[in-house]
Symmetry: C2
Amino acid sequence: MKLKSMDISATASASSIVFDALRKAIIGGQLEEGEPLRQDEIARLFNTSRIPVREAISRLEEQGLVKTQRYKGAVVAGLSPQETEEIFDLRALVEPEIIRNAVPLMSKELLTKARDKCAAFSASSDPMEWGDLNRDFHETLYSASDLKFFLEIAHNAIDRVERQIRAQLVMSNGMERAGREHFGILEACEEGDAEQAAKLTRDHIQGAKKSLLAHLPLS
Amino acid sequence: MKLKSMDISATASASSIVFDALRKAIIGGQLEEGEPLRQDEIARLFNTSRIPVREAISRLEEQGLVKTQRYKGAVVAGLSPQETEEIFDLRALVEPEIIRNAVPLMSKELLTKARDKCAAFSASSDPMEWGDLNRDFHETLYSASDLKFFLEIAHNAIDRVERQIRAQLVMSNGMERAGREHFGILEACEEGDAEQAAKLTRDHIQGAKKSLLAHLPLS
DNA sequence: ATAAACCAAATTGGATCCAATATTCAATAT
DNA sequence: ATATTGAATATTGGATCCAATTTGGTTTAT
Protein backbone atom coordinates (compact mmCIF):
# COMPACT_ATOMS: atom_id res chain seq x y z
CA MET A 1 0.00 0.00 0.00
CA LYS A 2 1.93 2.97 -1.24
CA LEU A 3 -0.94 5.28 -2.01
CA LYS A 4 -0.65 8.88 -1.10
CA SER A 5 -3.45 9.37 1.39
CA MET A 6 -6.00 12.07 0.92
CA ASP A 7 -8.85 13.22 3.05
CA ILE A 8 -11.82 12.23 0.97
CA SER A 9 -14.20 14.17 3.16
CA ALA A 10 -12.31 17.27 2.15
CA THR A 11 -13.52 16.99 -1.43
CA ALA A 12 -15.34 20.12 -2.29
CA SER A 13 -19.08 20.29 -2.47
CA ALA A 14 -20.69 21.85 -5.48
CA SER A 15 -21.70 24.89 -3.50
CA SER A 16 -18.18 25.53 -2.22
CA ILE A 17 -16.77 25.20 -5.72
CA VAL A 18 -19.24 27.76 -6.97
CA PHE A 19 -18.56 29.95 -3.95
CA ASP A 20 -14.80 29.94 -4.52
CA ALA A 21 -15.16 30.60 -8.21
CA LEU A 22 -17.56 33.48 -7.75
CA ARG A 23 -15.47 34.97 -4.98
CA LYS A 24 -12.36 34.90 -7.15
CA ALA A 25 -14.22 36.35 -10.09
CA ILE A 26 -15.56 39.17 -7.96
CA ILE A 27 -12.36 40.17 -6.20
CA GLY A 28 -10.42 39.62 -9.42
CA GLY A 29 -12.63 42.08 -11.24
CA GLN A 30 -13.90 39.64 -13.87
CA LEU A 31 -17.36 40.41 -12.56
CA GLU A 32 -17.74 44.09 -12.18
CA GLU A 33 -19.62 45.91 -9.52
CA GLY A 34 -23.35 46.09 -9.98
CA GLU A 35 -23.35 43.17 -12.37
CA PRO A 36 -26.26 40.81 -11.68
CA LEU A 37 -25.61 37.16 -10.83
CA ARG A 38 -28.23 35.00 -12.53
CA GLN A 39 -28.66 31.73 -10.69
CA ASP A 40 -29.72 29.90 -13.82
CA GLU A 41 -26.80 31.09 -15.87
CA ILE A 42 -24.25 30.25 -13.17
CA ALA A 43 -25.82 26.85 -12.61
CA ARG A 44 -25.43 26.08 -16.32
CA LEU A 45 -21.81 27.23 -16.27
CA PHE A 46 -20.97 24.74 -13.52
CA ASN A 47 -23.29 21.96 -14.67
CA THR A 48 -25.26 21.95 -11.47
CA SER A 49 -28.71 22.94 -10.35
CA ARG A 50 -29.51 26.29 -8.82
CA ILE A 51 -29.43 24.94 -5.26
CA PRO A 52 -25.65 25.07 -4.78
CA VAL A 53 -25.57 28.40 -6.58
CA ARG A 54 -28.09 29.85 -4.18
CA GLU A 55 -26.11 28.63 -1.22
CA ALA A 56 -22.93 30.13 -2.66
CA ILE A 57 -24.63 33.46 -3.24
CA SER A 58 -26.04 33.57 0.27
CA ARG A 59 -22.55 32.96 1.63
CA LEU A 60 -21.13 35.69 -0.58
CA GLU A 61 -23.77 38.02 0.74
CA GLU A 62 -22.81 37.18 4.32
CA GLN A 63 -19.25 38.18 3.35
CA GLY A 64 -20.42 41.44 1.87
CA LEU A 65 -19.28 40.63 -1.65
CA VAL A 66 -22.76 40.68 -3.17
CA LYS A 67 -26.04 42.37 -2.31
CA THR A 68 -29.34 40.64 -2.89
CA GLN A 69 -32.92 41.82 -3.04
CA ARG A 70 -35.82 39.46 -2.58
CA TYR A 71 -37.13 38.15 -5.88
CA LYS A 72 -34.72 40.45 -7.68
CA GLY A 73 -31.50 38.58 -7.26
CA ALA A 74 -27.91 39.37 -6.42
CA VAL A 75 -25.50 41.94 -7.79
CA VAL A 76 -21.80 42.36 -7.16
CA ALA A 77 -21.37 44.77 -4.25
CA GLY A 78 -19.57 48.05 -4.68
CA LEU A 79 -18.16 50.54 -2.21
CA SER A 80 -18.67 54.25 -1.89
CA PRO A 81 -15.54 56.35 -1.28
CA GLN A 82 -16.56 56.60 2.39
CA GLU A 83 -16.95 52.86 2.67
CA THR A 84 -13.63 52.31 0.96
CA GLU A 85 -12.00 54.64 3.42
CA GLU A 86 -13.56 52.81 6.32
CA ILE A 87 -12.31 49.45 5.11
CA PHE A 88 -8.79 50.83 4.82
CA ASP A 89 -9.06 52.24 8.33
CA LEU A 90 -10.15 48.83 9.52
CA ARG A 91 -7.19 47.24 7.80
CA ALA A 92 -4.87 49.84 9.32
CA LEU A 93 -6.18 48.85 12.72
CA VAL A 94 -6.15 45.07 12.39
CA GLU A 95 -3.22 44.19 10.14
CA PRO A 96 -0.52 45.82 12.29
CA GLU A 97 -1.73 43.65 15.18
CA ILE A 98 -1.40 40.58 13.00
CA ILE A 99 2.15 41.47 12.03
CA ARG A 100 3.07 42.30 15.60
CA ASN A 101 1.84 38.88 16.63
CA ALA A 102 3.45 37.15 13.66
CA VAL A 103 7.01 38.50 13.83
CA PRO A 104 8.19 36.38 16.78
CA LEU A 105 6.64 33.32 15.15
CA MET A 106 8.32 33.67 11.77
CA SER A 107 10.62 30.81 10.79
CA LYS A 108 13.75 31.18 8.70
CA GLU A 109 11.98 29.42 5.81
CA LEU A 110 9.01 31.73 5.99
CA LEU A 111 11.22 34.78 5.86
CA THR A 112 13.02 33.37 2.85
CA LYS A 113 9.72 32.76 1.13
CA ALA A 114 8.59 36.28 1.99
CA ARG A 115 11.80 37.73 0.57
CA ASP A 116 11.17 35.84 -2.67
CA LYS A 117 7.62 37.13 -2.88
CA CYS A 118 8.81 40.63 -2.14
CA ALA A 119 11.32 40.39 -4.97
CA ALA A 120 8.80 38.85 -7.33
CA PHE A 121 6.45 41.73 -6.65
CA SER A 122 9.04 44.40 -7.34
CA ALA A 123 10.28 42.59 -10.44
CA SER A 124 6.91 42.09 -12.10
CA SER A 125 6.11 44.21 -15.10
CA ASP A 126 2.70 42.76 -15.78
CA PRO A 127 -0.01 44.93 -14.24
CA MET A 128 -2.42 42.02 -14.45
CA GLU A 129 -0.57 40.15 -11.71
CA TRP A 130 0.41 43.03 -9.42
CA GLY A 131 -2.67 42.60 -7.27
CA ASP A 132 -2.04 38.93 -6.68
CA LEU A 133 1.68 39.37 -6.02
CA ASN A 134 0.97 42.15 -3.57
CA ARG A 135 -1.55 40.10 -1.65
CA ASP A 136 0.72 37.08 -1.80
CA PHE A 137 3.53 38.97 -0.10
CA HIS A 138 1.40 40.36 2.70
CA GLU A 139 -0.38 37.10 3.39
CA THR A 140 2.89 35.19 3.51
CA LEU A 141 3.93 37.35 6.43
CA TYR A 142 0.50 37.19 8.02
CA SER A 143 0.42 33.40 7.75
CA ALA A 144 2.91 33.13 10.62
CA SER A 145 0.34 34.65 12.96
CA ASP A 146 -1.93 32.44 15.01
CA LEU A 147 -4.66 35.05 15.39
CA LYS A 148 -7.27 33.27 13.32
CA PHE A 149 -10.09 35.75 13.88
CA PHE A 150 -7.91 38.73 13.11
CA LEU A 151 -6.83 36.93 9.96
CA GLU A 152 -10.42 36.18 8.99
CA ILE A 153 -11.24 39.86 9.24
CA ALA A 154 -8.16 41.00 7.38
CA HIS A 155 -8.81 38.54 4.55
CA ASN A 156 -12.39 39.68 4.22
CA ALA A 157 -11.43 43.35 4.35
CA ILE A 158 -8.82 42.82 1.64
CA ASP A 159 -11.34 40.89 -0.43
CA ARG A 160 -13.66 43.86 -0.36
CA VAL A 161 -11.05 46.32 -1.60
CA GLU A 162 -8.97 44.12 -3.92
CA ARG A 163 -10.17 46.05 -6.91
CA GLN A 164 -9.22 49.36 -5.36
CA ILE A 165 -5.83 48.01 -4.35
CA ARG A 166 -5.16 46.98 -7.92
CA ALA A 167 -6.24 50.37 -9.13
CA GLN A 168 -3.96 52.04 -6.63
CA LEU A 169 -0.96 49.97 -7.72
CA VAL A 170 -1.26 50.92 -11.36
CA MET A 171 -1.64 54.61 -10.75
CA SER A 172 1.17 57.13 -10.59
CA ASN A 173 4.03 55.66 -8.59
CA GLY A 174 1.94 53.08 -6.77
CA MET A 175 4.11 50.10 -7.65
CA GLU A 176 7.38 51.81 -6.92
CA ARG A 177 6.29 52.97 -3.51
CA ALA A 178 4.62 49.71 -2.56
CA GLY A 179 7.81 47.83 -3.44
CA ARG A 180 9.86 50.12 -1.27
CA GLU A 181 7.47 49.86 1.65
CA HIS A 182 7.24 46.09 1.34
CA PHE A 183 10.98 45.91 1.63
CA GLY A 184 10.90 48.00 4.77
CA ILE A 185 8.29 45.78 6.36
CA LEU A 186 10.25 42.68 5.42
CA GLU A 187 13.44 44.06 6.93
CA ALA A 188 11.72 44.85 10.21
CA CYS A 189 10.41 41.28 10.29
CA GLU A 190 13.86 39.87 9.61
CA GLU A 191 15.27 41.92 12.43
CA GLY A 192 12.53 40.69 14.72
CA ASP A 193 11.32 44.23 15.33
CA ALA A 194 7.61 43.61 15.70
CA GLU A 195 6.81 47.18 16.70
CA GLN A 196 8.51 48.60 13.65
CA ALA A 197 6.89 46.05 11.35
CA ALA A 198 3.50 46.95 12.78
CA LYS A 199 4.12 50.65 12.37
CA LEU A 200 5.31 50.29 8.78
CA THR A 201 2.30 48.11 7.98
CA ARG A 202 -0.04 50.76 9.33
CA ASP A 203 1.73 53.47 7.36
CA HIS A 204 1.65 51.31 4.24
CA ILE A 205 -2.11 50.88 4.47
CA GLN A 206 -2.83 54.50 5.40
CA GLY A 207 -0.61 55.63 2.54
CA ALA A 208 -2.46 53.46 0.08
CA LYS A 209 -5.73 54.82 1.39
CA LYS A 210 -4.62 58.40 0.97
CA SER A 211 -3.35 58.02 -2.57
CA LEU A 212 -6.48 56.09 -3.46
CA LEU A 213 -8.90 58.63 -2.06
CA ALA A 214 -7.06 61.45 -3.79
CA HIS A 215 -7.97 59.86 -7.12
CA LEU A 216 -11.54 58.91 -6.28
CA PRO A 217 -14.48 60.98 -7.55
CA LEU A 218 -15.63 63.80 -5.27
CA SER A 219 -14.58 62.13 -2.05
CA MET B 1 -53.96 58.84 -1.07
CA LYS B 2 -53.55 58.76 2.66
CA LEU B 3 -52.17 55.25 3.00
CA LYS B 4 -49.30 54.71 5.29
CA SER B 5 -46.73 53.20 2.97
CA MET B 6 -44.73 50.16 3.83
CA ASP B 7 -41.96 48.43 1.98
CA ILE B 8 -43.50 45.09 1.15
CA SER B 9 -40.25 43.80 -0.30
CA ALA B 10 -38.78 44.06 3.18
CA THR B 11 -40.92 41.19 4.41
CA ALA B 12 -38.76 38.41 5.71
CA SER B 13 -38.06 35.30 3.70
CA ALA B 14 -38.35 31.91 5.32
CA SER B 15 -34.59 31.48 5.37
CA SER B 16 -33.99 34.77 7.12
CA ILE B 17 -36.61 33.95 9.74
CA VAL B 18 -34.90 30.65 10.42
CA PHE B 19 -31.51 32.36 10.42
CA ASP B 20 -32.58 34.95 12.98
CA ALA B 21 -34.22 32.37 15.20
CA LEU B 22 -31.25 30.03 15.16
CA ARG B 23 -28.82 32.88 15.76
CA LYS B 24 -30.77 34.05 18.79
CA ALA B 25 -31.06 30.52 20.12
CA ILE B 26 -27.32 30.00 19.77
CA ILE B 27 -26.10 33.23 21.30
CA GLY B 28 -28.85 33.04 23.94
CA GLY B 29 -27.60 29.66 25.03
CA GLN B 30 -30.83 27.77 24.31
CA LEU B 31 -28.75 25.64 21.96
CA GLU B 32 -25.59 24.64 23.65
CA GLU B 33 -22.24 24.26 22.09
CA GLY B 34 -21.63 21.04 20.20
CA GLU B 35 -25.35 20.42 19.84
CA PRO B 36 -26.21 19.16 16.36
CA LEU B 37 -28.66 21.06 14.16
CA ARG B 38 -30.87 18.62 12.29
CA GLN B 39 -32.23 20.16 9.14
CA ASP B 40 -35.35 18.04 9.16
CA GLU B 41 -36.20 18.79 12.75
CA ILE B 42 -35.70 22.54 12.30
CA ALA B 43 -37.72 22.52 9.10
CA ARG B 44 -40.62 20.87 10.94
CA LEU B 45 -40.38 23.42 13.75
CA PHE B 46 -40.81 26.27 11.28
CA ASN B 47 -43.25 24.52 8.94
CA THR B 48 -40.96 24.85 5.96
CA SER B 49 -38.86 22.57 3.84
CA ARG B 50 -35.18 21.97 4.45
CA ILE B 51 -34.13 24.42 1.74
CA PRO B 52 -34.47 27.62 3.80
CA VAL B 53 -32.96 25.79 6.77
CA ARG B 54 -29.89 24.87 4.79
CA GLU B 55 -29.47 28.42 3.62
CA ALA B 56 -29.77 29.66 7.20
CA ILE B 57 -27.20 27.16 8.41
CA SER B 58 -24.73 28.07 5.69
CA ARG B 59 -25.07 31.72 6.66
CA LEU B 60 -24.54 30.84 10.32
CA GLU B 61 -21.42 28.97 9.36
CA GLU B 62 -20.12 31.98 7.48
CA GLN B 63 -20.62 33.94 10.71
CA GLY B 64 -18.72 31.36 12.71
CA LEU B 65 -21.70 30.39 14.87
CA VAL B 66 -21.89 26.81 13.66
CA LYS B 67 -19.45 24.34 12.18
CA THR B 68 -20.51 21.88 9.52
CA GLN B 69 -18.99 18.74 8.12
CA ARG B 70 -20.02 17.36 4.80
CA TYR B 71 -22.74 14.72 5.10
CA LYS B 72 -22.48 14.97 8.87
CA GLY B 73 -24.32 18.18 9.51
CA ALA B 74 -23.88 21.27 11.61
CA VAL B 75 -23.16 21.70 15.29
CA VAL B 76 -23.16 24.82 17.42
CA ALA B 77 -19.65 26.23 17.45
CA GLY B 78 -17.69 26.57 20.66
CA LEU B 79 -14.55 28.45 21.57
CA SER B 80 -11.37 27.31 23.25
CA PRO B 81 -9.97 29.56 25.98
CA GLN B 82 -7.37 30.82 23.50
CA GLU B 83 -10.04 31.62 20.94
CA THR B 84 -12.14 33.34 23.57
CA GLU B 85 -9.16 35.45 24.53
CA GLU B 86 -8.56 36.38 20.92
CA ILE B 87 -12.15 37.49 20.41
CA PHE B 88 -11.94 39.70 23.48
CA ASP B 89 -8.67 41.18 22.18
CA LEU B 90 -10.42 41.88 18.90
CA ARG B 91 -13.26 43.57 20.72
CA ALA B 92 -10.78 45.59 22.75
CA LEU B 93 -9.26 46.81 19.50
CA VAL B 94 -12.41 47.59 17.53
CA GLU B 95 -14.99 48.77 20.02
CA PRO B 96 -12.98 51.70 21.38
CA GLU B 97 -12.69 52.97 17.81
CA ILE B 98 -16.44 52.74 17.44
CA ILE B 99 -17.02 54.71 20.62
CA ARG B 100 -14.43 57.29 19.67
CA ASN B 101 -16.24 57.79 16.39
CA ALA B 102 -19.68 57.74 17.98
CA VAL B 103 -19.21 60.26 20.80
CA PRO B 104 -19.32 63.43 18.66
CA LEU B 105 -22.37 62.04 16.88
CA MET B 106 -24.47 61.33 19.95
CA SER B 107 -27.71 63.27 20.23
CA LYS B 108 -29.26 64.42 23.48
CA GLU B 109 -32.00 61.81 22.99
CA LEU B 110 -29.55 59.00 22.45
CA LEU B 111 -27.69 59.88 25.62
CA THR B 112 -30.93 59.90 27.54
CA LYS B 113 -31.79 56.49 26.18
CA ALA B 114 -28.33 55.22 27.06
CA ARG B 115 -28.68 56.54 30.61
CA ASP B 116 -31.95 54.65 30.94
CA LYS B 117 -30.39 51.43 29.68
CA CYS B 118 -27.46 51.92 31.99
CA ALA B 119 -29.81 52.30 34.93
CA ALA B 120 -31.94 49.35 33.84
CA PHE B 121 -28.84 47.19 33.73
CA SER B 122 -27.68 48.14 37.18
CA ALA B 123 -31.18 47.78 38.60
CA SER B 124 -31.91 44.33 37.23
CA SER B 125 -31.89 41.44 39.65
CA ASP B 126 -32.77 38.75 37.13
CA PRO B 127 -29.62 37.00 35.88
CA MET B 128 -31.54 35.73 32.87
CA GLU B 129 -31.72 39.22 31.41
CA TRP B 130 -28.31 40.57 32.37
CA GLY B 131 -26.75 39.54 29.09
CA ASP B 132 -29.38 41.30 27.03
CA LEU B 133 -29.36 44.45 29.14
CA ASN B 134 -25.58 44.63 28.96
CA ARG B 135 -25.55 44.30 25.20
CA ASP B 136 -28.43 46.71 24.90
CA PHE B 137 -26.48 49.41 26.74
CA HIS B 138 -23.33 49.02 24.69
CA GLU B 139 -25.10 48.85 21.38
CA THR B 140 -27.15 51.93 22.16
CA LEU B 141 -23.92 53.90 22.42
CA TYR B 142 -22.43 52.20 19.38
CA SER B 143 -25.53 52.94 17.30
CA ALA B 144 -24.50 56.58 17.03
CA SER B 145 -21.42 55.57 15.08
CA ASP B 146 -21.44 55.53 11.30
CA LEU B 147 -18.66 52.97 10.96
CA LYS B 148 -20.78 50.20 9.52
CA PHE B 149 -17.98 47.72 8.96
CA PHE B 150 -16.54 48.22 12.41
CA LEU B 151 -20.03 47.69 13.77
CA GLU B 152 -20.48 44.53 11.72
CA ILE B 153 -17.33 43.12 13.22
CA ALA B 154 -18.17 44.15 16.76
CA HIS B 155 -21.63 42.63 16.50
CA ASN B 156 -20.26 39.37 15.20
CA ALA B 157 -17.52 39.27 17.83
CA ILE B 158 -20.06 39.87 20.59
CA ASP B 159 -22.31 37.18 19.11
CA ARG B 160 -19.51 34.69 19.40
CA VAL B 161 -18.83 35.38 23.07
CA GLU B 162 -22.32 36.21 24.34
CA ARG B 163 -22.40 33.06 26.41
CA GLN B 164 -19.08 33.85 28.03
CA ILE B 165 -20.19 37.42 28.71
CA ARG B 166 -23.25 36.13 30.49
CA ALA B 167 -21.13 33.74 32.48
CA GLN B 168 -18.78 36.55 33.41
CA LEU B 169 -21.62 38.76 34.61
CA VAL B 170 -23.02 36.20 37.02
CA MET B 171 -19.71 35.33 38.57
CA SER B 172 -18.20 36.95 41.64
CA ASN B 173 -18.72 40.70 41.40
CA GLY B 174 -19.22 40.81 37.62
CA MET B 175 -22.49 42.74 37.66
CA GLU B 176 -21.35 45.24 40.23
CA ARG B 177 -18.18 46.08 38.37
CA ALA B 178 -19.84 46.16 34.95
CA GLY B 179 -22.46 48.57 36.25
CA ARG B 180 -19.79 50.85 37.60
CA GLU B 181 -17.75 50.75 34.40
CA HIS B 182 -20.83 51.34 32.26
CA PHE B 183 -21.54 54.46 34.22
CA GLY B 184 -18.01 55.70 33.65
CA ILE B 185 -18.27 55.15 29.92
CA LEU B 186 -21.62 56.89 29.83
CA GLU B 187 -20.27 59.89 31.70
CA ALA B 188 -17.37 60.25 29.30
CA CYS B 189 -19.84 60.18 26.41
CA GLU B 190 -22.02 62.82 28.03
CA GLU B 191 -19.00 65.04 28.52
CA GLY B 192 -18.06 64.54 24.89
CA ASP B 193 -14.71 63.07 25.89
CA ALA B 194 -14.24 60.54 23.10
CA GLU B 195 -10.71 59.62 24.14
CA GLN B 196 -11.77 58.81 27.66
CA ALA B 197 -14.81 56.86 26.49
CA ALA B 198 -12.59 54.82 24.18
CA LYS B 199 -10.07 54.15 26.92
CA LEU B 200 -12.74 53.09 29.41
CA THR B 201 -14.33 50.83 26.80
CA ARG B 202 -11.00 49.14 26.18
CA ASP B 203 -10.43 48.69 29.90
CA HIS B 204 -13.95 47.36 30.33
CA ILE B 205 -13.40 44.69 27.71
CA GLN B 206 -9.91 43.76 28.86
CA GLY B 207 -11.16 43.56 32.42
CA ALA B 208 -13.96 41.24 31.42
CA LYS B 209 -11.47 39.11 29.53
CA LYS B 210 -9.17 38.84 32.50
CA SER B 211 -11.82 37.87 34.99
CA LEU B 212 -13.25 35.40 32.49
CA LEU B 213 -9.95 33.70 31.73
CA ALA B 214 -9.17 33.43 35.41
CA HIS B 215 -12.20 31.20 35.79
CA LEU B 216 -11.73 29.15 32.66
CA PRO B 217 -10.29 25.62 32.78
CA LEU B 218 -6.50 25.34 32.36
CA SER B 219 -6.13 28.43 30.22
C1' DA C 1 -16.23 -14.26 22.28
C1' DT C 2 -14.46 -10.96 19.13
C1' DA C 3 -13.75 -8.54 15.12
C1' DA C 4 -14.72 -7.83 10.34
C1' DA C 5 -18.44 -7.51 6.89
C1' DC C 6 -22.71 -5.89 5.88
C1' DC C 7 -27.28 -4.27 5.77
C1' DA C 8 -30.98 -0.78 7.20
C1' DA C 9 -32.16 3.55 8.95
C1' DA C 10 -31.00 8.34 9.30
C1' DT C 11 -29.13 12.34 7.42
C1' DT C 12 -27.24 15.47 4.20
C1' DG C 13 -26.31 17.20 -0.82
C1' DG C 14 -28.30 18.03 -5.09
C1' DA C 15 -32.04 17.92 -8.94
C1' DT C 16 -36.43 18.86 -10.45
C1' DC C 17 -40.77 20.89 -10.04
C1' DC C 18 -44.13 24.48 -8.57
C1' DA C 19 -45.39 29.09 -6.62
C1' DA C 20 -44.57 33.96 -5.94
C1' DT C 21 -42.78 38.07 -7.67
C1' DA C 22 -40.63 41.11 -11.01
C1' DT C 23 -40.00 42.77 -15.69
C1' DT C 24 -41.05 43.67 -20.37
C1' DC C 25 -43.85 44.96 -23.86
C1' DA C 26 -48.08 45.20 -26.43
C1' DA C 27 -52.86 46.89 -26.17
C1' DT C 28 -56.00 50.40 -24.78
C1' DA C 29 -57.95 54.59 -23.07
C1' DT C 30 -57.61 59.43 -22.45
C1' DA D 1 -48.80 61.02 -28.09
C1' DT D 2 -48.71 59.54 -23.50
C1' DA D 3 -49.88 57.13 -19.64
C1' DT D 4 -52.11 53.06 -17.82
C1' DT D 5 -53.53 48.31 -17.92
C1' DG D 6 -52.66 43.68 -18.56
C1' DA D 7 -50.74 39.58 -20.36
C1' DA D 8 -46.36 36.93 -21.45
C1' DT D 9 -41.79 36.00 -19.97
C1' DA D 10 -38.00 35.75 -16.84
C1' DT D 11 -36.31 35.08 -12.38
C1' DT D 12 -36.21 33.96 -7.66
C1' DG D 13 -38.05 31.35 -3.31
C1' DG D 14 -39.59 27.12 -1.62
C1' DA D 15 -41.32 22.07 -1.80
C1' DT D 16 -40.66 17.55 -3.03
C1' DC D 17 -38.01 13.91 -4.72
C1' DC D 18 -33.70 11.22 -5.49
C1' DA D 19 -28.70 10.15 -4.71
C1' DA D 20 -24.61 9.93 -1.79
C1' DT D 21 -22.77 9.26 2.69
C1' DT D 22 -22.77 8.27 7.47
C1' DT D 23 -24.25 5.56 11.48
C1' DG D 24 -25.65 1.93 14.31
C1' DG D 25 -26.85 -2.52 14.85
C1' DT D 26 -26.71 -7.42 13.16
C1' DT D 27 -24.73 -11.19 11.16
C1' DT D 28 -20.98 -14.08 10.19
C1' DA D 29 -16.44 -15.98 10.14
C1' DT D 30 -12.54 -17.13 12.90
